[in-house]
């Protein structure tokens, strides 16, 4: 656990660089995190990120891809285009929520 500065804010991150405090997140941080991994956020990215944050708050866990697709309304195909190769990890990194824990 360490403190670092992202987009001018002090935030706590774990060893891998994922944020650990839900409330320290803001949109500027998200844009900076996305830029870190080569993603420029468009409207569809924001739709996913906002869903992840709302769903995490309600459910207490990060949704898996299937839930993002079925409940969040962004198809699996699109998720792989928006967050190439490792969508589940990348979207949770940008949204400031933990990596999803489930199998499917």
């Amino acid at each position: 656990m360490a403190v670092t500065t992202i987009a001018g804010s002090e935030v706590q991150v774990d060893d891998e660089g994922f944020m650990t405090e839900y409330d320290e997140w803001n949109e500027e941080i998200a844009a900076a995190l996305a830029a870190n991994i080569g993603i420029e956020l468009g409207d569809s990215h924001w739709q996913v990120i906002k869903f992840l944050r709302e769903d995490y708050k309600e459910q207490g866990e990060t949704p898996m891809l299937r839930r993002v697709s079925n409940v969040g309304g962004v198809s699996t195909k699109e998720l792989f285009q928006l967050f190439p190769k490792k969508p589940a990890k990348k979207m949770s990194y940008i949204a400031g929520v933990p990596k999803p824990q489930g199998c499917v």
Partner: protein, 177 residues
């Protein structure tokens, strides 16, 4: 006087550029409990950015055959490990052979899978295809069962021979289920 210790910004290593890893699953079973292992693992591999193939053969053909994919069954006949969830007792083998028992056991297992928010087989196969998974049908099985490509879902890329599969899986980790 103390100052907060500040770490340099760490960026997760998503390993995008070094994934030459490739996984091929051989799905040879058509019982409900035996189709999930390859589907779950293939889906997980795709989520990790790994090139993933599934080769469907013998009873595994039912997973991609339109007529059967929605209707895979489970029985504990021959499975001595079967016990009701959380119970120490084993289910008597003879009971599994009674009429309607396969239907009941299938219904129970489907409910348990649904409770975990894991999709049924047709949706799962679609998810894997959408995630970029490659689906292949086995030529010998197709010939044996008198199937054509029209009997299978469109996402199946081709009907291929054993030799084709061996070529295709060059350098891959191959997992038989």
């Amino acid at each position: 006087m103390t100052t907060a210790k500040e770490a340099p910004s760490v960026i997760p290593d998503f390993g995008d550029d070094d994934t030459d890893r490739k996984i091929c699953f051989i799905a040879s079973k058509g019982t409900l409990d035996m189709v999930y292992p390859s589907l779950v693992m293939a889906n997980a591999a795709l989520g990790e950015g790994i090139e993933t193939h599934i080769f469907f053969t013998f009873w595994g053909m039912d997973i991609i055959t339109k007529k059967h994919m929605e209707d895979l069954q489970f029985t504990w006949l021959g499975n001595t490990a079967m016990h009701p969830p959380g119970k120490k007792m084993h289910m008597p083998q003879g009971l599994a052979g009674l009429p309607f028992m396969t239907g009941m056991a299938t219904k129970m297992m489907k409910k348990q899978i649904a409770d975990l928010d894991v999709p049924e087989v047709p949706e799962f196969v679609q998810m894997i295809a959408d995630a970029g998974g490659h689906l292949w049908a086995c030529k010998m099985s197709v010939d044996m069962m008198g199937l054509t490509k029209d009997d299978m879902i469109d996402e199946v890329e081709d009907i291929i021979s054993a030799t084709d599969f061996i070529e295709l899986s060059d350098g891959a980790q191959v997992i038989f289920t």
